[in-house]
Amino acid sequence: MSFHPLMAYDDRFHKSERKVVDEGPAFEFTPQRRATFDDIISKYPPDRKRSAVLAGLYLVQEQAGYLTGNGMRHVAGILDLTPAEVEDVATYYVMFFKEPVGKYVLQVCRTLSCALLGAERVTEALSEKLGIKVGETDASGMFTLLEFECLGACDRAPIVMVNNEHWHERLQPADAARLVDDIRARGAAAFNGCHLHVENS
């Protein structure tokens, strides 16, 4: 129904990007992750457990690969929050994946300093090599391609972060396709890290 006489309340007018959360399989932290999480919670005042919610969500993502509804509910249960409160936080931050991603998530910095040195070309080259658009996962389930905002290593542009963790600096557009092959062959050993300014100068 519509509250406006000329506006139908359907997908012609009501367009929301919000997706219903993927519930995923039943979820419980492994004993080791639960211990890690309890340790993190203990660093905050006892009545402020909520501060550990980001840490909890990282652990869910580590275990399940992405943030599932059941995973978020598990965190909510431990922190005495409602599932909605946890989802509210989870959907704000860009480093949490809300749907399944590939084994290697390539996060190309696209902001000015990297873009000045060809980051848009890097994304294009990766997109062409993998046959996917930004935001998609390739058919083999090996790679997801994302664009990220300034990663804070502008002197080593263009820069790519992988899986929120590994870095590859000064990736030239011409080398992007080779990097994909290198990751297929050597995994995380293919990344050159983020230390050039120290070692090479």
């Binding site: 660093k43 905050y44 902001t111 070309r121 804070g152 100068s201």
Partner: protein, 434 residues
């Protein structure tokens, strides 16, 4: 004027980040000296040094600490802002990775000065490789009695907690950082009350940038006079400059604030790429107005850059040569701001999106002449009309590019395309858009 590096002296030492190395080079001596002083004397010392916050606003640190409410039963906190996200800024990245103990020492001096028992270091989620260095070194500091209970046998107890963010530019705003530390969305609070009165967990909190805290141990060790002598009046101390973009040697450079922007770009960073000319410089991270090549002969201090018509901000100097299309620059940065807007205030949330849409239209050659003034109108309606400084930051790239390069915008509209040579465009821009 080159100075002897203070903060980055040992960043290139292979083992320079370790506790052993740090202890051999006056490590934790500043803290030892501070703990022998009454807390109020430490605040007075920092006030006398004139140390200004290195995060962007340049607010005097001693004053900030003085505002922290002392006569309260509530606990007090230091929140270290390590959410370095301003485009073009990467100084804290280097400091934390290569000199973590200097940051810990600074945190502890800050805690002693304001009477806090815990310092939270809020590090951006993308810096996980840095966080692992911090955590490993913090564990060593705890094990050897430089953090935790009874620090260096003085009876002072203070914890340091490293808190990982999860990707939000807005978390760099001090009240948004506090919200995020509390486990909520990183959205700013209404001020007042300022964090010094009611911050983290509604307790008095001082939010300080990494580089600011790293300046404390040398100030305590060498005194306020040494610090002020390193730079122009009210702009003392060593400063880290991040130079990126079209320069030969991008990187982090330490200098006094008497050094001019020209010297930084041409002497320190080697100047623009061979065969190219300088076109424009963003001197303090993407949120500040552009300076033109003839405006660069000013000291890179908070006050002088402001007089030149921009801001020193986070000292993220982005250099652009003549191959750069300014419409493209504005669109690139507005995409950033529309993406990162926390959505709390309507002018920023809606205005940023519209600025980006209009800039995309102009860049694609579908713009009209009136769109250029529309950019100025929308920008003017965002700046100063939001809870935090993000609104001003988001409007600036559109306003400053139109102000300085209006002819380029008009050429885009008139010609229906970018008028720069095709091979320059091809190096950076989506071919489809041109």
């Amino acid at each position: 004027m080159p100075i002897e590096p203070v903060l980055t002296k040992y960043v290139r030492e292979p083992n320079g980040f370790s506790l052993d190395f740090f202890l051999k080079h006056q490590g934790y001596e500043g803290l030892r000296k501070a703990l022998a002083m009454p807390p109020n004397d430490v605040i007075e010392l920092v006030k006398a040094s004139g140390l200004r916050g290195r995060g962007g606003a340049g607010f005097p640190t001693g004053l900030k600490w003085q505002f922290v409410k002392k006569d309260t039963p509530l606990p007090k906190y230091i929140a270290c802002n390590a959410d370095e996200s301003e485009p073009g800024t990467f100084k804290d990245h280097v400091l934390m990775e290569r000199n973590p103990h200097l940051l810990f020492e600074g945190c502890l001096i800050g805690c002693w000065a304001i009477g806090a028992k815990v310092a939270y270091i809020y590090i951006r989620g993308e810096f996980y490789h840095v966080q692992r260095v911090l955590e490993a070194e913090l564990a060593k500091a705890y094990a050897q009695g430089y953090a935790g209970k009874n620090i260096m046998g003085t009876g002072f107890d203070c914890d340091i907690v490293i808190h990982r963010g999860a990707g939000a530019y807005e978390a760099g705003e001090e009240t948004a950082l506090i919200e995020s530390l509390e486990g909520k969305r990183a959205q700013p609070r209404i001020k007042p009350p300022f964090p010094a009165v009611s911050g983290l967990y509604n307790c008095p909190t001082a939010v300080n940038n990494v580089e600011t805290l790293c300046n404390l141990p040398p100030i305590v060790l060498n005194g306020a006079e040494w610090f002020t002598a390193l730079g122009p009046e009210k702009n003392g101390g060593p400063k880290l400059y991040c130079i990126s973009g079209h320069v030969k040697k991008p990187g982090v450079y330490e200098a006094g604030m008497k050094t001019t922007l020209k010297e930084l770009i041409f002497d320190y960073a080697g100047g623009v790429r061979d065969g190219h000319q300088l076109k424009a410089v963003i001197p303090g991270g993407s949120s500040v107005p552009i300076l033109l090549p003839n405006q660069l002969d000013v000291p890179a201090s908070f006050d002088d850059v402001q007089k030149a018509g921009s801001m020193l901000g986070s000292a993220g100097i982005i250099v652009m040569d003549e191959t750069t299309c300014m419409v493209w620059v504005a669109r690139n940065l507005l995409y950033f701001y529309k993406h990162e807007s926390c959505g709390k205030c309507t002018p920023c949330r809606e205005g940023g999106d519209w600025l980006h849409k209009i800039l995309t239209r102009i860049e694609n050659g579908e713009g009209e002449m009136r769109d250029i003034d529309l950019l100025l109108s929308i920008g003017g309606n965002i700046a100063g009309k939001t809870l935090c400084a993000f609104g001003d930051a988001a409007a600036t790239p559109a306003l400053t590019t139109v102000k300085n390069f209006r002819a380029e915008f008009e050429a885009h509209v008139r010609e229906g395309r970018c008028t720069l040579p095709a091979d320059w465009r091809a190096a950076r821009m989506p071919v489809a858009a041109h």
